[in-house]
């Protein structure tokens, strides 16, 4: 079975959970014998051997570089050595052209496309090849806009893709509900395939933390509350800082570690100063590798307060690194993990109540992590991959809709 997989990023060139989910999902699919060609919009070495990774590079460019930030512009290096900045929509256009021109397009049995940036290319591929199309929704514009309709152009592309796909896969029930409610797609066209985590793919922690200062503060009785994610409205950090003020008022030995970059950085920094808690909030910018791992590991509690989080991989990673989690009820991951604290993203007081409970009570922290870690070790992509293979077989047999 040959599948044309259209995605926007893969590790180590990913900016967030989308790339990791695509990577781990494809690995599980390849174990089930699926032959995957994965098209990414940039040129890079991924060190992947279980599928073919093909860059959608137009002939004019020598190299395309992607910044670390999601939904950012791309940089082209042209044959004469000059550079060209390309915005996201233009890049998505070029991705369409590249996919259209794939010489192998006719050889695939099915097209599987991840999120709106690839949807137009996916529709062209379906049009040209006549093969069935599955679109996989990891996030909608509704989520990214923090529960509003967002950019109408993006919304329109998403709507068209959802409408014309033969099947839709949503990473959570929450996301399925949003697709039905905000995009008027019939529920029976959408299958929930919960994301998972490939726990064997994670490196072990080493003995020295990348945060010696925070480790020192912990020795002095401080507790660390961490968020790792983009500093953007979707992630709900504004409310986390409001809650932080209440926690710090009652448990002064609490430090909030905010790891990530994004357009809200200045606003959040200003807010922490306005709230009078700037000395208890540490911003670290976007991190990779050891610093990224240790951001989770140093924490006593990981908080993901997202306004709308289709799945949310970071809480699972936190559990894996030894830290219990508090997640918003508006997250897909809360459908997967029972032993976590859950709060409505808007309920600042309850968020503060639960954070304070963990930082003040070692027993709660330990039990919460012990129990969630048991769930974590049982997680695997195998179920998700089986569901996908079933869907592939069904739609290859049925053929594409006109």
């Amino acid at each position: 079975m040959k599948v044309l997989m259209l995605g926007w990023e893969l590790p180590p060139h990913n900016s967030g959970g989308l790339g990791v989910a695509c990577y781990q999902m494809c690995k599980a699919l390849s174990k089930k014998g699926v032959d995957i060609e994965f098209i990414v919009p940039y040129t890079a070495d991924h060190g992947i051997d279980f599928m073919t990774v093909t860059p959608a590079t137009p002939v004019t460019a020598q190299a395309i570089l992607k910044s670390g930030i999601a939904y950012d512009s791309f940089k082209y290096i042209l044959p004469d050595g000059t550079e060209e900045e390309v915005d996201l929509f233009t890049q998505a256009d070029r991705y369409v052209r590249a996919v259209e021109q794939l010489a192998t397009l006719g050889e695939f049995d099915l097209i599987h496309a991840h999120d709106w940036l690839t949807f137009r290319a996916a529709l062209r591929a379906k049009e040209i090849s006549g093969k069935p199309l599955i679109v996989h929704v990891h996030a909608t514009e509704f989520d990214r806009a923090g529960g509003k309709s967002g950019n109408p152009m993006v919304h329109e592309i998403e709507y068209t893709g959802l409408l014309l796909a033969d099947r839709i896969m949503a990473v959570s029930q929450l996301t399925k509900d949003i697709i039905v409610r905000e995009y008027d797609i019939p529920a029976d066209k959408i299958e929930v395939v919960h994301n998972s985590i490939d726990i064997d793919s994670y490196e072990q922690l080493d003995s020295h933390s990348a945060y010696p200062y925070l480790e020192q503060m912990k020795q002095q009785g401080y507790r660390i509350v961490t968020n790792v994610g983009r500093l953007t409205i979707q992630k709900g950090l504004y409310n986390l800082l409001l809650a932080a003020k209440e926690v710090i008022a009652r448990a002064p030995k609490t430090i909030f570690l905010i790891v990530g970059s994004g357009e809200q950085y200045r606003e959040l920094l200003q807010l922490s100063a306005d709230l009078g808690i700037a000395d208890h909030v540490v911003f670290t910018n976007f991190q990779r590798g050891k610093r990224w791992r240790d951001s989770f590991a140093v924490a006593d509690l990981f908080v993901m307060p997202s306004v709308s989080e289709p799945f949310g991989l970071t809480p699972l990673e936190a559990i894996g690194w030894g830290t219990p989690v508090l997640v918003s009820k508006q997250s897909g991951v809360s459908e997967v993990i029972r032993n976590c604290l859950k709060v409505d993203f808007w309920d600042v007081n309850e968020m503060a109540n639960q954070i304070a409970a963990v930082v003040c009570n070692e027993g709660l922290k330990n039990e919460l992590h012990n129990q969630s870690y048991k769930e974590y070790t049982r997680l695997t992509w195998d179920n998700a991959a089986s569901k996908m293979v079933d869907a592939y077989n069904h739609h290859i047999l049925a053929g594409a809709t006109a």
């Binding site: 029972r338 007081n349 109540n353 409970a357 009570n361 027993g363 709660l364 039990e367 048991k374």
Partner: protein, 406 residues
Amino acid sequence: MKQQAICLYLHVHQPYRIKHYTIFDTGVDHNYFNDETPGVDTNNEFIIHKVAEKSYLPTNAVLQDLLEQHPDFKLSLSISGTVIEQFEAWAPDVLESFKKLVSTGRVEILAETYHHSLAFFYSRAEFEEQVAMHRKKIQDIFGLTPTVFRNTELSYNNDLAFWADKAGYKGIITEGWDKILGWRSPNFMYRPTYTDNIRLLMKNYRLSDDIAFRFGDRNWSEWPLTADKFADWLGAAGDNAQVYNLFMDYETFGEHQWADSGVFEFLKALPEYWKATRQDRTFMTLSEAIDNFDPVDKVDVPYTITWADTERDLSAWLGNSMQQQAINALYGLKDPIIQTGDWALIEDWRRLQTSDHFYYMCTKWFSDGDIHAYFSPYETPYEAFTNFMNAWHDLKFRLAVKGIEV
């Protein structure tokens, strides 16, 4: 004539559930148990009304009928102090119906801790105080003095038996757990080791759980359980039995097993079928059984057992680090709280000792995703713990206001 008796023992209890009590309430709102939100499971008045309607009133009506129709029908009850208070406040008709049962002279009431606590394992002085409080309450309400002791969740060990013997109780009860009994049957009178006078009655958990847990289970191979079938099972031991100790939660009737399961009809019919085939079959209260039967052996229980779940230990209450932290924190306040002499403060502290609070923090079933096994008014054990500890912090706040730093 050699007799065989059913010792039916029903346990009546409701805790004071803690409302959603946050860190913002600590130091501000000193009422932990007063959730008045309509229809929620932490609204104690709502629960009392609900259970009264489903269980207490209809069950007492059946029991009253049985007492009137069958001169040898008898039973034993234990009623915690916390539930009696709630009946007094919100369901006096339920309390009246219990008094009416007791007034027949054929219903015994057992001794226990007023607050349905695990105090025996944490503070002997506090435990004895709560037992005394309960005795006084039972004397005031029912005009009788208990002579048989049950500890919370039928938790039991040699030390408890020793204590109860010295305290003058004629009997004590616990689980008829195989690991303790070995080849022996729970259907006989026993004597605890290291004691002089006291007798031990042990729950026949197979027969008891047929009613309490399996009665309404349509996947059970014996479903539907009828009174004549059950009476046959009791008769299977022939002469080789003295007592059939059917010990269970009172709320089995109507609450755990709903009326539409036929559990009331079962109860109504049981005495008739039980006595149908043999003249020597009867019912006894626990103290009556103690008076009638000699002990056949000594029973040694060096570690604590309970009547709970497959482990028959205290792990459902004290098995995880939250439960340990919470109960140690609570008993850690004992001396300063008692020294205040502030009755309202002491009483709130005691209400927090009720074992149910710790049970709600149990993670062992919750984690397995078996939501049916997680009986709790809270969504998660973590929420139960958080409410409890916030209330505990408020106790400390109230002590601090009195100038007592802990």
